[in-house]
Symmetry: C2
Subunit: 203 residues, 2 copies
């Protein structure tokens, strides 16, 4: 069946990376797509791990070259998803996982919706999100407050997603994630469906 | 998360019931919805197993009473899916499985699309379908020919389904079916999504 694309969204603090790590033994070979951005790295962020950090010039050249699946400008900074590593991963039958925001999800769905399965991951409640962000984070209060503000907006978009995982218990959440990931690999693209119909008719 | 609805379609001879049986230990508690029809039972068909066989009067009364999730008239015979047993099964958290045709799938999707996951099951090729139908069946040649004619039409509708399972190897096909079934249980209905958003905002 080849590869598949899984879009993950949800407030920071929802536990997305913990869920992926915890499910990694159960979902086969996957490629975690890292976004490219022109914004400055924050404390503790590493190039090639959290983001690919590039200059605005580089980013604009890449746009011209058609290198992005989707990109957006947020607070004057560019954020984008590079196409090439995704194509490579899909070719080798990997599950490609994106961690993008709800805008990114809309763009990806509009472009390649037929091979995308999307999952929104959320803590059970807003107060639990606040607790997690304040207890774990070394971020400034203003950044945390901004994340909470964003989360309030994001939650309104959950009906746009194929699945919602409520991360109140990591074991269950990661099992749910594994089940959804494995099902997403079984989704056929339009291209594969056409081939199937053709083979069928000519058999 | 409660129950979920899984719609199965595909030509007769695709191996739908074999796949369900073979996956039954891996998909949790499920209820297999049996259609109601006014047509005469064929040789070997049993009431309450293959269909609920009823009279046209009974069927029309049930229509008036709003007892069907969907119904259709094919070659002068009524076929329908009763609502009540489905509601009961969903309430008790069961996965409800329908085996209906592509028309039925369209009707169900239009009515309760938000809680439906649909799967089209097909043999790998038309010639393999012919082989299976002729080798196993006690049916008349005209009936088999009709089934093959129908299958040629049905295959054109596969892009309307969430998933397609190619049943060339029962072990793999039944594993795929189990994965899809378990993922379908994780789909939230609009109602559940609304509740989630409300809880979130009031937390």
């Amino acid at each position: 069946m080849g590869g598949a694309i899984l879009v993950l969204s949800g407030p920071s603090g929802a536990g997305k990376s913990t869920i992926i790590e915890s499910a990694s033994g159960k979902i086969g070979d996957y490629y975690f797509s890292i976004s490219t951005t022109t914004r400055e790295p924050r404390e503790g962020e590493r190039d090639g791990v959290d983001y690919h950090f590039v200059s605005k010039e580089e980013f604009k050249e890449d746009i011209k070259a058609g290198a992005f699946l989707e990109y957006a400008i947020v607070h004057g900074n560019y954020y984008g998803t590079s196409l090439n590593p995704i194509k490579e991963a899909l070719k080798s039958g990997k599950l490609v996982i994106f961690d993008i925001d709800i805008q990114g999800h809309r763009l990806v769905r509009a472009k390649i919706g037929d091979i995308v399965t999307s999952v929104f991951i959320t803590p059970p409640t807003l107060s639990e999100l606040e607790r997690r962000l304040y207890s774990r984070s070394t971020d400034k209060k203003s950044i945390i407050e901004n994340r909470i503000k964003n989360a309030k907006e994001e939650i309104k978009a959950i009906s746009e997603f194929d699945f919602v995982i409520i991360n109140d218990e990591i074991e269950r959440a990661s099992n749910e994630f594994a089940t959804i990931s494995n099902a997403s690999r079984l989704k056929l693209s339009k291209h594969e469906l056409e081939k199937l119909i053709l083979n069928w008719e000519n058999s």
